[in-house]
């Protein structure tokens, strides 16, 4: 019995540190609607700065003072980030903020190694909380008890802050209705800045308080961010109580889950999130709300198919690309194949995101399923390559059909999070089911047959399939189905009122996108000759998102350009520098701030403006009118 009590308390201690970070994220989202991916980076910075301070200043005062000062210092950095970066992009679609903060995270990861060095840093134990307290023969670390107490204290202080101060009232009002606060004549800018600072302070405090338990290292951010996202989503975005309950729920389930299934930790939070979102689409304490802004931005320039001249030009470009093997060596051709494969992957996500308005955060799942489909068929069933390429993507189709059914019931951030949860579940199956998938050692020896083995032949194969995929998806965009999909994206209300079954349309789109992603994965397996759980990991999903946004989310085929530029740049950077994350992160931030329409979108807007320069410019009221028309 004593053991279960202690295990429960241990779970509570884990919950407390999770809650600190999660509450900050939730507060920031509630008011600014920013999904702050950099929250993990602030957490990590908190730990690093606190490490430096607590090493330098001795004694209890030095330690606790160092923790607080570190959190304050990082909060100041947060203010800087908010003023310099986020203020420019509050009115961008949610995804851009996520992307900008993701870029920031990449940069911070390299920066901390530059500043603090590569080694894991182990800081001091907390003065006064070094030992353990015995409880019926079980030891409870006193620092755990401190954290257990701290969780509710922070919850209480936040509650008082929000209920009893004018600032708190404003924050709550802003959480419910942003426009209302603007109407009250409150300086919204500083309200947002102060909220962001509070959120970052909590994240950094959470990180700093890890010093007595953890080793400070440059991978702390990603370790915590996904889990914190999950906690916030389970609790309901914007709900602090929800974050608290979800943190306790997840931590306790983990603490007791490992007693029965020792391998459950790796997947538990995602299972819980998937179940919660399916049963309660807005999280435990969240309220249903109409999405503040649609995920992709709104374009007023309707899409149109290519004109004859443009078609000829596209064919000419394809011919030029197909001539590459006559001038380039094997390495360039292999890189070319990889880029072509990522073009397929990116356009499949683009179809879902831009045409369907559904930003998936787990699109790599279907890429990976296609890759594993091929690997399993080739290695276990011994099927020939053509058959594998045709049948492998069906695994992607199957996965998309099952997960898509649940995912399209949600929208916005919740859709993104549910797709992420599904991707993580698929990933951990690939990771854990060693007897079938080989675990993280993957499946090796999936090389193409002779006819496709040479780099030039494989390049032509990839290029051909990529061109086909782009053309087919374009045809679908301009088909009645594509219009029905866009109609559902533009106005679900109107779509329903003209007989469109939006969910079924979106589900079909999800399956199409999943299948095409599976095709990309199938080719990728043959390109690399092997598959790994990496092929369905979060970072691949994020890569795809970046490609789409880089190309331009409001364009018909911008993802093609996004994939080429991003992949080429990525390969080049990784090859040239160990600081590829710093450069890439900076690049992503720059794109979001300077070219939110993406490369193709910016060019199109430029062309459009020149074409329209004679006719009158559209009124600035337009956008607001469209928004109110939703």
């Amino acid at each position: 019995m004593a053991f279960y009590v202690v295990q429960f308390l241990t779970g509570l201690a884990s919950a407390a540190s999770l809650f600190l970070v999660a509450s900050g994220l939730s507060i920031i989202f509630g008011v600014t609607r920013i999904v702050n991916f950099a929250h993990g980076a602030f957490y990590m910075l908190g730990a690093y700065v606190a490490f430096t301070l607590t090493e330098r200043f001795s004694g209890a005062f030095g330690f606790w003072g160092g923790i607080i000062v570190a959190a304050l210092a990082v909060a100041a950095i947060g203010v800087l980030v908010e003023m310099v970066l986020l203020r420019r992009i509050y009115h961008s679609p949610e995804l851009f903020q996520l992307l900008a903060t993701f870029g920031l995270t990449l940069m911070v990861e390299d920066l901390v190694v530059l500043i603090w060095g590569p080694d894991d840093l182990v800081g001091r134990r907390a003065p006064g909380f070094k030992g353990a307290i015995e409880f019926f023969g079980q030891n409870i670390p006193s620092y755990d008890l401190f954290l257990i107490a701290l969780g509710p204290v922070v919850l209480g202080v936040l509650w008082l802050l929000f209920q009893r101060t004018r600032w708190g009232v404003l924050v709550r009002a802003a959480t419910q209705d942003r426009d209302m606060v603007a109407a009250l004549g409150v300086n919204q800018k500083w309200l947002f800045t102060s909220v962001f600072a509070l959120g970052v302070f909590l994240a950094a405090l959470g990180g700093a308080l890890q010093i007595p338990r953890d080793a400070v290292n440059h991978a702390m951010d990603l370790r915590v961010i996904v889990e914190v996202f999950v906690v916030v989503v389970i609790g309901g975005l914007g709900s602090i109580i929800g974050a608290f309950v979800a943190a306790v729920l997840v931590s306790e389930l983990n603490a007791f889950g490992i007693l029965i299934f020792p391998k459950i930790s790796i997947i538990l939070v995602f299972l819980v999130m998937a179940v919660v979102l399916i049963v309660r689409p807005w999280g435990l304490f969240g309220k249903p709300e109409a999405p503040a802004r649609r995920t992709p931005g709104l374009t007023v320039n309707p899409w149109r198919p290519l004109t004859t001249n443009e078609r000829l030009a596209a064919i000419a470009v394809l011919v030029v690309a197909a001539a590459l093997p006559f001038v380039a060596g094997n390495y360039v051709l292999t890189v070319g194949s990889e880029i072509a494969i990522f073009v397929i992957f990116a356009v499949s996500l683009h179809f879902l995101m831009s045409v369907g308005g559904l930003a998936s955060f787990g699109h790599a799942a279907y890429f990976g399923l296609g890759a594993y489909g091929v690997a399993l068929l080739a290695k276990m069933a011994g099927l020939p390559m053509i058959a594998c390429l045709l049948l492998g993507p069906l695994l992607g189709l199957l996965g998309a059909a099952v997960f898509g059914f649940f995912a399209v019931q949600l929208s916005g951030v919740y859709f993104a999070m549910l797709t992420l949860a599904f991707a993580q579940i698929v990933w951990s199956i690939a990771f854990q089911w060693v007897s079938v998938t080989g675990g993280d050692n993957g499946i090796l020896g999936v090389w193409p047959e002779k006819w496709a083995a040479s780099p030039s032949h494989f390049y032509w194969l990839s290029l051909g399939i990529a061109a086909l995929a782009v053309v087919i998806l374009r045809i679908i965009v301009f088909s009645p189905f594509g219009f029905a999909l866009r109609a559902t994206r533009d106005s679900p209300l109107r779509g329903e009122a003209i007989g469109i079954n939006g969910k079924r349309i979106q589900w079909t789109a999800f399956v199409i996108a999943g299948t095409v992603a599976g095709l990309a994965g199938a080719l990728f397996a043959y390109l690399k000759g092997s598959v790994f759980p990496d092929n369905m990991g979060i970072s691949l999903s994020v890569d795809a998102l970046v490609m789409v946004l880089l190309g331009g989310v409001e364009t018909v085929s911008g993802a093609v350009v996004g994939a080429i530029v991003y992949k080429a740049l990525n390969i080049w950077l990784v090859s040239q520098t160990d600081l590829s994350k710093l450069v890439l992160g900076g690049f992503v931030v720059l794109i979001v701030v300077a070219f939110p329409k993406g490369i193709v979108g910016t060019l199109e807007a430029f062309v459009h403006r020149r074409r329209k320069s004679s006719s009158s410019a559209s009124s600035p009221l337009l956008t607001s009118r469209i928004e109110s028309a939703e």
């Binding site: 070094k130 353990a132 007595p212 702390m220 983990n254 020792p262 390495y331 790994f532 160990d578 193709v600």
Partner: protein, 404 residues
């Protein structure tokens, strides 16, 4: 619209890479190039000392006249911890840089990916650090050799000591991925062979890098084992040790732990280093052999820092590569294989041989017990264990390894 950009993008990408490739190709023929790949950005704590090690080796080799009169050049690439990126890098090194062989890799899955690439493209590959047994056995191939003592070898070394313990009730804590799983599996198998009387009372599988140490320690303690096998390392190990110390998990229990004696993992623990753990590792401070002294002196002179195990691995990888290249007198992969099979060479740990049967080097490891000295963790009662003594019989290996 789209079409233009496809072409433009590809053209730019191609032009950049093509020019890069051409200039390097036009470089002098008086060089021998080795391609090196490792997870520099993902695992800087381990790969930085490793890089210093191989850089020292390159310097020494070139100072001594290079390889058969040619200057040795190592072209190093980061894989970001992703097998797919490692393959891209391998491809670049082989296709564009025309390296004579590939070396490096830390993570097992990346080692396997590059090994499979080498097999497919018929390129010689000397794996430096990956521990998985598969790379030389179940998924071994004729193009791949491996330097560092494998999982099996480390387990066998630990079992030799562990089997002497009176403990009968054992629990395991290992990261939930292939390395942890196979380490536990081999350890259990070898242990149970020597000690049929022992029981395995609990196993914990925290996710790699994400251990929630409190509940794991508590759950392990609840099973009341007499001894514990630990396979976690890095930040996970720190958390485990801290929670374990506070909750008195290690009190009255012997812990057997993979790799914990390596400075990479032991040093961060500082004054919290638990005492009396049976570990494999690298006690650079207490090795008194002329070979190691020479290495240590050179390393400290160049970097003003002490070596980690990664330094040894990096150093010896390039030394071994150079020895193989010198013996082959050619960069033809078949000749390199012929040269490498059975080659013997000096190392800071004494003479090592790359076995013909499974391409595993006989580089050994040190075992010993952890102890505290001046607020730092060290290994005591250390003993060097030759790799050749901890490998299964040739007949067993024949069964494990696919025929070429």
């Amino acid at each position: 619209m789209r079409g233009y950009f496809v072409g433009a993008g590809l053209a730019i990408a191609v032009a950049t890479m093509a020019t890069g490739a051409m200039t390097t190709q036009a470089m002098a023929q008086s060089e021998i190039k080795i391609g090196e790949i490792n997870s520099y950005s993902l695992l800087p704590a381990f790969t930085e000392p490793y890089r210093k090690g191989w850089q020292l080796a390159v310097e020494e080799i070139n100072a001594a006249g290079g390889i058969n009169g040619k200057k040795l050049v190592v072209i190093s690439k980061d894989d970001g911890g992703k097998p797919a990126d490692a393959q891209t890098a391998a491809n670049e090194l082989v296709s564009s840089e025309n390296v004579a062989m590939l070396t490096g890799t830390f993570l097992s899955n990346i080692g396997l990916a590059v090994s499979d690439f080498a097999n497919q493209k018929k390129v010689f590959f000397l794996a430096a650090e990956p521990l998985t047994d598969a790379i030389t056995w179940s998924k071994g191939n004729r193009y791949t050799f491996r330097l560092r003592p494998s999982n099996y070898m480390q387990a066998a070394m630990l079992v030799e000591e562990a089997a002497k313990l009176p403990a009968k009730r054992w629990a395991t804590i290992a990261p939930n991925y292939e390395y942890g799983q196979s380490a536990v599996a081999v350890f259990k198998k070898l242990m149970s062979e020597k000690r049929p009387d022992i029981q395995w009372v609990d196993e914990q599988w925290p996710p790699q890098g994400k251990i929630d140490a409190g509940p794991v320690v508590q759950a392990t303690a609840a099973a009341n084992p007499e001894a514990i096998l630990n396979v976690t390392f890095g930040a996970d190990l720190v958390k485990l040790v801290r929670e374990g110390n506070t909750r008195a998990l290690f009190k009255g229990r012997t812990v057997v732990s993979f790799l914990t004696g390596e400075p990479e993992y032991l040093d961060p623990l500082k004054d919290e280093t638990p005492e009396g753990w049976i570990v494999t590792g690298y006690p650079w401070y207490s090795i008194k052999t002329p070979e190691h002294d020479a290495f240590l002196k050179a390393y400290q002179a160049k970097y003003n820092d002490y070596p980690r195990l990664g330094s040894i691995v990096g150093y010896q990888t390039i030394k071994a590569a150079a020895a193989i290249l010198a013996k082959a007198g050619s960069s033809d992969p078949e000749k390199l294989i012929a040269a490498a099979e059975g080659i013997s060479m000096p190392s800071p740990f004494g003479e090592i041989t790359f076995r013909k049967i499974d391409h595993q080097s006989t580089l050994g490891a040190f075992t010993g017990k952890t102890a505290l000295k001046d607020g730092k963790g060290i290994m005591v009662d250390t003993a060097y264990r030759m790799g050749s003594d901890y490998l299964p019989s040739d007949a067993e290996i024949e069964k494990l390894r696919p025929k070429d």
